[in-house]
Amino acid sequence: MKKVAGEFHRSKGEVMASFDRRSFLRLSAASIGAGAVLQFFPSTAHAATAAKLLGKRTGEAPSPFSIVQLSDTHVGFNGPPDPLGTAAFERAVDMINALTPQPDLILFTGDLTHDSEDSAEHSKRFAKFKEIAGHLRVKKRFFVPGEHDAALDGGTLFREHLGETHQSFDHRGVHFVALDNVSAGRPAVGKAQIAWLKSDLARYSKETPIVVFTHRPLFDLKPEWEWFTSDGDAVMNVLAPYDAVTVLYGHIHREQQTTLGNAQHYAARSLIFAFPDPATAAEKKPLPFDASQPFRNLGIRRITDSGSRLAIDDIELTKREVSGANGVAQLLRQGELL
């Protein structure tokens, strides 16, 4: 079989003209206001054929679906940078419940709770988080911890309330991997989890779309602000052979897109105060609260997979109809969100 660089080869030996495998799972971003939504759909004339071929290789062909990423809800936090407590989280839940069609999955990328020295109080915060998340119509929800959830007790409370801190699963032809890079106390995935990742991925072909979700960035985004994972390179080396890798993370309380090799790294907005742009800000200080736009810079992410393309909508919570002087009162009313 003739091999041509940059082209895709059918198993029968034919060359699929000018098909770029990496375009099969590509993300496009569009701002809409409260977290993030990912979508997959065909982006090239050859996408349908390629989807069938991927199905043969991986056992399940990608088909259209969407997921939502929520991050950094910090249930239990209440302070000057964000005096509204869980209001943004609750608004995000309402916004997601109004989405048509409903997403297949909800991914939470850490700092679900704000830590407390009192374990009983922290446990109450986990219970409150579960109560609010329980209002989501989507029942398939997956969680990874942030340092505020798991760094002080090694993940004990997180496991009690939400299960294991790392796992993997398949959904419509996409392989999802949840990585824990906080429970060790320091920003690290650790050798044992990296060995697990290696064995987990070994059964997949390199064409399989892979979505990793974790809390901290897996690269040196801004180490002096603790925006890194010390063994992130080792994790990305395990993922390097795979053609279409998407990493979803939180922690930095702002949108960020970074391309490194075959991998696209996306940070979601938080559901509590935002952090400034590290390229222009001298210090890592929360952006001040603006009562006229209480949910500015906070949001969710919707990710839609339509079989060959992964599209991202970053949704800011502040929409025109609920912004302005009456923003807080409007946002606190239910049922008027979309």
Partner: protein
């Protein structure tokens, strides 16, 4: 007798020449949520051992540009010997989450 004295001095001289000077040791104490001292001055080209002592909880000390990445548990110090190559002021952080004031746990290395 003179020959013996000469040989003794020669051996002592060679021995002292082969024994490298021990690096200066800088002790840093970490506790929630501060380092002491919080400013340390180093010199370009001078080898120095940075030793981190944690007294109440596990703490880290991270300064990537200087190659410092220490993790100390309570009662179990961690250390590294470095030779700074460039002058400047380098912020250091605790990268081991240690509680609500963790984000403010910082210090500075000044290399002259």
């Amino acid at each position: 007798m003179k020959r013996c004295l000469f040989l003794f001095l020669l051996v002592a001289l060679l021995a002292s020449a082969q024994e490298p000077a021990k690096p200066r040791v800088v002790e840093i104490t970490a506790k929630r949520f501060e380092f002491a001292p919080n400013v340390v001055t180093l010199h370009r080209g001078e080898a120095v051992t940075i030793r981190l002592n944690a007294i109440d909880h596990a703490h880290g000390l991270l300064v990537k540009p200087l190659g410092i990445d220490l993790d100390a548990d309570r009662g179990s110090p961690d250390e590294i010997t470095i030779t700074p190559a460039a002058a400047g002021s380098f912020p250091a952080i605790c990268d081991h989450y240690c509680g609500m004031g963790h984000g403010n746990m910082k210090m500075t290395f000044v290399v002259q």
